[in-house]
Structure formats: C-alpha cells, structure tokens
Amino acid sequence: MMKDRILEKLNANLKSSLLAVNEYRGELTLTVVKGDIVKVCQFLRDDGDLRFDGLRDLCGADYYRPEGRFEVVYNLYSLKNKFRLRLKVRVGENDLHVHSVSHVWPTADWHEREAYDMYGIIFDGHPDLRRIYMPEEFEHFPLRKDFPLMGIPGSLNLPRK
C-alpha cells in the first residue's frame, strides 16, 4: 500500500519531523513540525519511489483557537503513484513565519502570496511576497475569523465621485 510506503520512508528518514498522522476516508494527512516543512517537502519530491512532483494546492486556514491558531495546508500529488497526500503545518499567532516552498514547487509562489494576503502568514524566503488580491495599501487580513464580513469602514477607498 502506498500509505504504508510513505510512512515507512518518512519514519526511517524524518521521524522527528512528524507530529501526527491522520487518515480519514482514505485521505492521508500528516502534521509536520513547522521548521522542517521544507526538508519534508524536498524529501517527498525527490525520493525516487514517492515522487510527489505536484503541489496541487497550498492554502491557509484560521481555526481561531489559542494554540496554533493558523494552519498552512499543502496538497501534494504524485503522478507516478497516482496518490494524493496532505501536509499541515500549525502556525501560532505570535510567530507567523513559515519557510517558503516556492523553490521546491514554483507553483507555490502565488499560493503563498494568497495565504499571506488573506491570513497574514509570512513565508520566509519567498521571492516576491506581495498581496495578490487586495490593494497594496490594505492593512488587514480579510479571511481571519475576527475580520468583520462587511470590512472595516475606511480601509478601502472608492474613487472620488
């Protein structure tokens, strides 16, 4: 089974990087130590047997809890094995830095910009970490749970009438 092979390889090489393993409805999710995410991603991509060569999505999530409020979710796909794998990294509110994986999969570039724009998660080592949807001068992070639905009055300006 593919799942066992992944866990076997990770346990042999990067055991200390895994925090939790979760399987739900045939989907494998691994929670990874924040500082080791690049190492794990690089291993999963470069291992000749696993070959997770595609980052299908990268997104942020806000669970609005005291410990490890944010998460960054990586959805990987292996063309060779036709297998999907999900990685998660917990990001606390006091330390919003995660290392960028845009040099592992170049597609992460814009996805990380989106996660930065919407949640304020800062990806260290990103080549061009700017807002992607909201105007440059906008100061808030609209997908955070404490952001009001109708926005903050005066934070986005309209043209003069």
């Binding site: 105007p135 926005g151 009438k161």
Partner: protein, 178 residues
C-alpha cells in the same frame, strides 16, 4: 409620398433637438463587462436580440469613442478605480447603465471587497434588475436612455430609471407546452 414632394418640403426644429435625435439613435456602448452579466450583454449585441436595431451595434473598446457605459458585473473596490478612470475618459455627454444586481446594489456579494452599488462612485442613469438580466431587459434599459436623450435630459442629473425583471420567457414556454 413621392420623393419629389419630400425634396420640396421642409420642416423646422431646434438644433438641440436634431442633435438629440442623432445621438439617441447612435449610442455607442462601452462594454464594461466585468463578470457573468457580460455574457448576456454579448447576447444583447448578437443577432437574436440584435441591438443594431437601435443603432448601438458599434461596441467600442475604447472609452474615447463611446458615449454609453454598460457596467455589467460585480465591481470590487480594486476594480472601482478602473471603472471610474474609464468613465472619466469618455467624452461628454455620457450615460451609464448599471446592469444586474451586483452592479446596482452589490447583489449577493454582501462582503468587504464588493462595492455595494456603483452609484457610490459614478452617476447612474438606468438600473436594470436581474441576476443576470435577460438581454431584452437590457434593451429596455437602452430604450430608456434613448428616451432620456430625446427629452433633452442631462446625464447623471435626471430621474433614475429602474427596469424590473419580467417573466415573458417563461410564459412563452408555457404556452408552447399547452
């Protein structure tokens, strides 16, 4: 009436009126197609609904050659500056149709990023309801703009017109079944 009689006859009018007559029958739209309403706007221009019957078939993709802006779609705060800039580049007199629920009121997008009605930053002459409006409703909106021009009204300062949704199409389908 024979042509010879037409050549001999004459009529008097005011310059303003004849200008208005010419203008109303040659409104050149600026298709500000921002989202899905633009699909209905294409249909409005196409052969079935055929806006050329009203002299508006020349869609200009340059604001400098158009005098009617059809704003078709959800206008976000980021896009609002672009819409305003294009509006400012159009020569006077210029008219604006707010097509669809999103453009007129923000529609289903009650959210931080969408402008809750484009009349917050540009003057609107005709609002067309619907999500999206049917092309014939947009034609009705265009005819209302024509009526305004014929009455000699100034853009943006006159009475607002609200075109309601109607269910003609469904009725017609029902009658086919019967």
């Amino acid at each position: 009436m024979g042509m010879s009689r037409a050549e001999e006859s004459f009529f008097t009018t005011r310059l303003e009126q004849i200008m208005g007559w010419a203008r109303k029958n040659s409104l050149w739209p600026m298709p500000m197609g921002i989202s899905c309403c633009a699909i209905e706007m294409m249909s409005f221009a196409g052969p079935r609904f055929d806006v050329s019957r009203f002299g508006s078939e020349a869609f200009r993709f340059s604001p400098r050659q158009s005098d009617l802006m059809i704003v078709a779609g959800t206008v976000t705060y980021k896009m609002s500056h672009v819409v305003r800039k294009i509006y400012d580049q159009m020569p006077d007199p210029k008219w604006v149709i707010a097509m669809g629920a999103c453009t007129s009121t923000g529609g289903m997008y009650r959210s931080y990023s969408v402008v809750q009605g484009i009349d917050l930053f540009i003057p609107v002459d005709v609002y067309v309801a619907g999500c999206p409006p049917r092309p014939d409703n947009l034609l009705k909106g265009l005819m209302e703009v024509q009526k305004k021009i014929a009455r000699g009204e100034k853009p943006g300062q006159c009475e607002k017109i609200y075109i309601q949704e109607h269910l003609k199409f469904d009725e017609r389908q029902d009658s086919r079944k019967a």
